[in-house]
Symmetry: C2
Subunit: 191 residues, 2 copies
DNA sequence: TCGGTCACCTGTCGAGCGGTAGGTTTCGTT
DNA sequence: AACGAAACCTACCGCTCGACAGGTGACCGA
């Protein structure tokens, strides 16, 4: 069973890589990308820093893997983004602070010069805005009940999600992320 | 004129410190707080790193001074926050990317563990939300035209401002921050 | 003119960083 | 049983970081 065994071998390695990426997500959440040392990530999966570098040749390569994971994670909801699904997404995120914290920290860093995640986020926001506008158009047509066009509502929707995340991360007890987001959707959807 | 001379001396020193804080704002905008080295800040004002440490004994002390500057800068508009003034503020900020970038980078970092700016931002958002709610109440009463209470609208308002800043910093040509913000205010103020 | 404070310097330190080089163990395949 | 690649390690490197110690010159009030 040559294929099977080859698969097994490759799977072991990919499992290891997945472990490392998971650990990297945690460490980045705690210290940011610049503050995350390869040694700290390695220790979390029981490796030395050099052992980690066997799987990812540079720190930036590891970050790329982290961002790629996010990409395919986002792809799960698919192009079908309806308002109620967005609320569920926000509620779901509110129970997994780690992920939010990782990418909020990365987003903040990414606006600095020459940050390796900058292109990723720029590109990501472009597509997210476009997808969001398309979803709003599919649901409401050329004008939302509030009078906005989908293209003008989309950046606001994205901004609210991100902005609420920061407020919530800093002070979870004072900010009900999901409720606030529902408020905003009401604002968009009401006449 | 002992007082006068003493003042002069103190003023010289404070001017120097102000110069350093200004340089620190720039460097933090470019590299974040963790990425900003004292040497880089010092070089920008024509000092050695050790010369800078004469004015601010630690890196964190310098950050505190930077945050303090922000505090009194925000205090300028006073408690009188009206909707149209907010628009002017956003428009003004859109012409000074440096400031926005500095504090967007700091905000992103601040959600990480043990970050020295975390308490600052937590506290700041608490008061900004409260001030904003008070301003909305003064303008609209207990219910905004959209039906929201001031307390529920305030976090959304703050979130939109922050979120738009990130989108704008990453891709200024694709995001019209002021226009989007006006859209949101319309959303809030319309029935 | 003297004395002292202030501003700033050179020198140095220890720790941590990402990354390279090269060896050793483990393990599936033949 | 032998081989070869993959996984992982030890050792090391150059660099940068924030911070400490101690010295020097200028300025300023007495």
């Amino acid at each position: 069973m040559p294929y099977g065994d080859a698969m097994t071998t490759r799977t072991r390695s990919e499992e290891r890589r997945a472990e490392i990426v998971r650990a990297a997500l945690e460490v980045i959440a705690e210290r940011g990308y610049r503050g995350a040392s390869l040694a700290a990530v390695a220790e979390r999966v029981g490796l030395t820093q050099q052992g980690l570098l066997h799987h990812f040749p540079t720190k930036e390569a590891l970050l790329v893997a982290v961002l790629r994971e996010r990409d395919q994670w986002d792809a799960l909801p698919g192009t079908g983004w309806r308002a109620d699904l967005l609320v569920s997404l926000v509620e779901y995120n509110a129970m997994r602070p780690g992920i939010i914290q990782t990418f909020s920290a990365l987003l903040g860093e990414s606006v600095t010069e020459g940050h390796p995640a900058r292109a990723f986020f720029t590109r990501r926001y472009t597509t997210v805005r476009a997808d969001m506008a398309a979803a709003l158009r599919a649901e409401y047509g050329e004008r939302l009940p509030s009078g906005l066009t989908p293209e003008r509502a989309a950046p606001l929707l994205v901004a609210v999600m991100d902005g609420l995340q920061y407020q919530w991360l800093l002070d979870p007890e004072s900010v009900d992320m999901a409720a606030a987001f529902r408020d905003f959707l009401t604002l968009l959807g009401e006449d």
